[in-house]
């Protein structure tokens, strides 16, 4: 069902855990299947993401996309991190089954939520970042399999 990369990130997820006194923490849930993802960011004074950790309550795809997302944002600037969309994460994982596309949105939204938290804590505005919804649901088309 899953690609090798997904299985790799699922069985050996990178950056699981918490960051004490993180610069930003975001938690989002997926109303569709009830899953939850939390992302911790450690951002230095230059706006570079030094560290990133996650916790996820969700399926194999949710775990793997969280793991891949943390890898992708590490070392990036805040602005660059905004470019880590669910599509980018999916591509980096060699794709997801159609029924699992929605899980990858958790990762994107969790990054946004953590960045929002960081911006609020520091009283700054990040260009292009909107207040994240706490519940994700999108009118994605039911993609047909087979």
């Amino acid at each position: 069902m899953y690609s090798e990369k997904v299985m790799d990130h699922f069985s050996n997820p990178r950056n699981v855990g918490e960051i004490e006194n993180a610069s930003g923490v975001g938690t989002v849930g997926n109303a569709k299947c009830g899953d939850i993802m939390r992302m911790y960011l450690d951002i230095d004074d230059n706006g570079i993401i030094q560290d990133c950790k996650f916790k996820t309550f969700g399926c194999g795809a949710a775990v793997a996309t969280s793991s891949m997302a943390t890898e992708l944002v590490k070392g990036k600037t805040v602005q660059e991190a905004l470019q880590v969309t669910n599509k980018a994460v999916m591509n980096a994982l060699d794709g997801l089954p159609a029924v699992k596309v929605h899980c990858s949105l958790l990762a994107e939204e969790a990054i946004h939520a953590a960045l929002w938290d960081y911006a609020e804590k520091n009283g700054i505005q990040i260009e292009g970042l909107q207040k994240p919804k706490s519940d994700i649901h999108e009118d994605e088309e039911v993609v047909e399999e087979y």
Partner: protein, 398 residues
């Protein structure tokens, strides 16, 4: 990974080698169409008669009351839809439970769209149907009660005899989906007042794509698959002779071995249940503690999600299933787990393990050890567990 412990026998079972053996000649040697005149077909006709008799005997029924179908779903559709059609002059109301298989529930929804009314009776926290509610739901227009013999997810066995008596008292037809129970529990259609019963071959080490509907003599339902004169004009389509032969063989073996097999399964199931519930915190057993299928164990582990659990178990060579939304395709957690009162996030972390006679004590101990490790690992990754621990700490600090 070489080890393989298959604990998903409620989903489907391997076909027994003896069953395949019995089927083989009917593919290439006795391939005749049973409706034909020549000798070649007589062998097939006789083989079908034999299977039908074996099955009838297993239920205390008459061979003429067994109608082969393509599986449990077709049997359920047939029983419900054709009963509604045949008895609509009498009424338009049927009663079922909230925890039926989708083959019954979605058929009920279809019937509701077509002018029938359905009452879905509640179950208690163990998954037992509320008999009082069931009887209270009966109306003058009630034509059918359909309650499953035993549940496919949580294994709870319903009080079928009591339901049959209620149905009989009110002169209402009683159908039971026995797809899970057949072959695991002794069933007698007369004793339980069952008018129709569905079963499926692949759940008891028979082939896939074959099932039957038992229809008591006198129940006047028509065909669901219209066409040729097969199955006494009630179910059209060239008979799946190898499937029927294999099903018959599987039933024969299942009946012969039932007592010994299920006693062993119950013992190991209880070992599994006791160890898991005792050794893994924040865990509950779903379904009734004793009124449950011999081979069924179903747990909810708080703070984790079922699909992840299944994949990790698979990596350790263990096959199980879950009622998690993430595995359902429909993104809703199991209606059965919700009906017994589990909140969404707990239904999410469910694991069903269904045994077979091949499972050993060693297997069970291996499985429990792996489940423990994996649950721990997934909890360490879970934001819900993190929150729970923090809240608890705060409470303790207060």
């Amino acid at each position: 990974m070489d080890k393989k412990i298959y604990l998903d026998n409620a989903a489907t079972t391997p076909t027994r080698p003896a069953v395949v053996e019995a089927m083989l000649p009917y593919f290439t040697e006795f391939y005749g169409n049973p409706s034909s005149v020549y000798e070649l077909s007589n062998v097939c006709k006789k083989a079908i008669v034999n299977s039908r008799e074996t099955i009838a005997k297993s239920l205390g029924a008459d061979a003429a009351e067994i109608y082969f179908t393509a599986g449990g779903s077709e049997a359920d559709n047939w029983a419900l839809i054709s009963t509604c059609e045949a008895y609509k002059a009498k009424g338009n109301h049927i009663i079922t439970s909230k925890i039926e298989h989708h083959a019954v529930l979605h058929t009920c929804e279809y019937l509701e769209k077509n002018g029938f009314e359905v009452t879905y009776v509640d179950v208690d926290e163990n998954g037992l149907i509320k008999l009082g509610e069931l009887e209270a739901a009966i109306r003058p227009t009630t034509i059918l009660i359909s309650v499953m013999f035993a549940n496919n997810e949580i294994g709870t066995i319903q009080p079928i005899k009591e339901i049959g008596e209620i149905a009989k008292k009110h002169d209402i037809l009683f159908h039971t989906d026995a797809v899970q129970a057949y072959g695991q529990l002794p069933i007698n259609v007369d004793e339980y007042h069952i008018d129709m019963l569905s079963a499926s071959g692949h759940k008891l080490n028979g082939p896939k794509g074959i099932g039957f509907l038992y229809i008591r003599k006198g129940v006047k339902i028509g065909s669901y698959i219209h066409g040729g004169a097969q199955e006494r004009h009630r179910r059209a389509g060239t008979e799946n002779v190898p499937g029927i032969v294999g099903f018959g063989k599987a039933v024969e073996i299942a009946m012969e071995t039932m007592k010994e097999r299920t006693e062993k399964e119950v013992e190991l199931r209880d070992l599994l249940i006791n160890r898991i519930v005792k050794e893994i915190p924040y865990t509950r057993l779903n379904g009734h503690r004793t009124k449950r299928l011999p081979n069924n164990a179903n747990f909810s582990f708080q703070f984790i999600e079922g699909e992840s659990l299944l994949i990790m178990l698979d990596m350790q060579g263990i096959c199980g299933s879950s009622g998690s939304a993430c595995t359902s395709g429909s993104l809703d957690p199991s209606h059965v787990l919700l009906s017994i009162g589990l909140p969404h996030e707990i239904a999410h972390g469910s694991l069903r393990l269904t045994l077979s006679e091949d499972i050993t004590e060693e297997d069970i101990n291996y499985v429990v050890d792996r489940v423990k490790e994996i649950v721990e690992r997934l909890r360490s990754m879970s934001p819900l567990y993190e929150d729970y621990l923090k809240n608890n700490q705060n409470r303790n600090n207060v």
